[in-house]
Symmetry: C2
Subunit: 388 residues, 2 copies
């Protein structure tokens, strides 16, 4: 049987091996603190759950149009007006099976075999593998530790090559939590537009901005492809529902692809998501954001004493990226031993790219309450001291 070459190039999540071991330890009765999973510890908001139940009662479980329920496309467009202050018409919105579906459509749209796509390193691990799916060449845009692993227009300009057709960037960023300021986003959009390329902007953590207002690249350009999701800010992870915003001229070819690749996004999830923009939901989400911010502040205050150094300025999402080089020369081994000895699960830098010296780094996801974070901080400190 013929196995495609991409299969070798698609890496597993290294954190999965740690997760498996964590489950074994829990089965043995160990108390673990999970700081490795990019999933908030909140259930879907109450109005969303109520809308889902109502949809089931009404038997709303048949196929929808390929690009989503018209009412949902309209609600998402309204969200851009109310939340981001930018004009988006419903025809620009394609509802997708998760942000995963949106990323797949965006890359299928602009990548021919051999085309190069810039992906930040570190960055969301799946980006480069979506490029492999469509036989593009992912090219690492290695972020500069001196700039706090923040993507800059000059670094993007320098990395852009003759065969580059697109760049996948994110704000707020995974794994660093860095949030780009409006002028930084404008500079990045200008750079890509100046090269005639496509900017694919991952905004799935927008709304989880702890220092500034939410902000979309669409405030600066109408040419970007914007990835977003109901998973993170809206707390609907397992529902697998996201969206893609595109220039209106691209809706037609993308609709053809969505018809063929997905048929349609999940119907129950779409009906549930119709309640995501209600005032009650948004109030609940703002309360959650404040809870996350409290956790973030606790970590920023207490992490320095552990010997792990905070990278950049984690102002968004629910991640902090840590430079562990003062306490270990092998961050993956550090994660393994910390799990075995102290029962704290973190994600090794290795999952976020190979070009940024991943052996120095770890990611914390602050997706547990403050008392558990305090427990984790105590254990990390004890571990670092005992292994010194």
């Amino acid at each position: 049987m013929h196995i495609a070459r991409r299969c070798e190039r698609i890496a597993p999540f290294h954190v999965m091996a740690l997760l498996e071991r964590a489950q074994q330890l829990e089965a043995q009765g160990r108390d673990l603190v999970h700081l490795e999973v990019g999933e908030p510890d909140f259930p879907a908001p109450a109005p969303v759950m109520a809308a889902a139940r109502a949809a089931l009662e009404a038997g709303a479980t048949r196929y929808t149009p390929a690009t989503g329920l018209p009412a949902l496309r309209e609600a998402i467009a309204g969200h851009y007006r109310d939340f981001f202050g930018v004009t988006v018409v419903p025809e620009q919105v394609l509802v997708t099976p998760g942000a995963s579906g949106a990323l797949q459509l965006a890359l299928a749209l602009c990548v021919d075999p051999g085309d190069e796509v810039l992906v930040t390193d570190p960055g969301y691990p799946c980006n480069r593998h979506f490029v492999e799916l469509v036989n593009g060449r992912p090219r690492s845009l290695a972020l500069d530790p001196a700039a706090g692993l923040r993507v800059t227009a000059s670094a993007l300009e320098q990395a852009w090559g003759a065969g580059t057709v697109a760049a996948v960037l994110a704000s707020p960023d995974n794994p660093t939590g860095n949030v780009l300021a409006p002028d930084e986003v404008a500079g990045l959009a200008d750079t890509v537009n100046g090269r005639g390329g496509t900017l694919i902007m991952d905004e799935i953590y927008q709304g989880l901005n702890h220092e500034q207002r939410p902000h979309s690249v669409l405030a600066h350009t109408d040419q970007a492809l914007v990835i977003n999701s109901f998973s993170k800010f809206f707390g609907m992870t397992g529902w697998r529902l996201g969206w893609l915003i595109v220039p209106e001229a691209l809706t037609e070819p993308l609709t053809r692809m969505a018809q063929n690749f997905f048929l349609a996004p999940s119907t129950p999830a779409q009906h549930a998501a119709l309640a995501a923009f209600e005032p009650d939901t948004l109030a609940e989400l703002e309360q959650r954001r404040q809870d996350l911010d409290q956790r973030r502040r606790l970590l920023l205050e207490r992490l320095p004493a552990t010997g792990l150094k905070v990278v950049g300025e984690p102002e968004g999402a629910f991640y902090i990226y840590l430079d562990a080089s003062a306490v270990s020369d092998d961050a993956f081994g550090f994660c393994q031993r910390l799990l075995e000895e102290e029962g704290v699960a973190l994600t090794p830098g290795l999952d976020f790219g190979a070009a940024h010296e991943p052996g120095r780094y770890l990611r914390i996801a602050y997706t547990v309450p403050c008392d558990r974070l305090e427990e984790a901080l105590m254990r990390i400190r004890r571990f670092v001291e005992s292994s010194a």
Copy 2:
């Protein structure tokens, strides 16, 4: 902006233009008979809906493992034992976002750029576009009208070329409803295995077999990749949940791809699907199959009088493919005029491939009750007579 070449090669569903016009006519108060949509007119079975409600109550809406809930993989494996009489272990089962996700994984696994994949013509329209997604070359396996558009081992053998790596076949088949007998399936599997290729067998209509027992290619080979779904037989269309059965050695690379491309299938859908194999559900599904069979028999009895000729032996799924050449030399125009003049919506052959003289053919989906089928038959007959 660079637009990938695949965008030009991915065709829209021609039936969509008819659907839009149908909706306009309905908005004007016209009574339409919808025989164009490949979606049964049954809601999800009662135990499935109850399981979905219970999952929501329990807050089961977080990410599952990438390949699905272990209990669901186990239940699917059990279904192969009970329903098909073949042995499948849970590790061979990958739960996916619809059969769409399963097709994508299967083709991403075995297609490098330029590799050729045989797709039946006529056949499920998305197959060739999944091949385009991964930059393979779909090659039409034009089915023989003299053989009732039934795929045969000798036709497959003849069409197999030096660059062919896989074939996507189906039983029961869309659009013809043809169901392959065990010895036919065995012959096709032998042919593909003999060429060292991969057989991707679409079995999403299995269970909707009106003349023989359900039957899987896995009774003949452990090398095929089997596509299946909760949409058709199990009546869960809008939930977007399917699965892929693979040789155990392929689970590891496919899991890596599933992690990256999908993260995970829908959690509420998976919990709902856990009830799909319960005796009460299966009894409800068998009753539905009998209803479908009654519709099929009505059509087979009454269609000849309309001038439309039944192709092959439609023994499965909920489709009948019709040769319209005795009444029209342009099946697409026939569909358009039949919709305008009589309010009956059918799918033109054009949606199922270009190589099998699609201008001769139409597809009926018998997804409405018998009284509506009788109404449609009357209208079709009147239309044919008036345009003679």
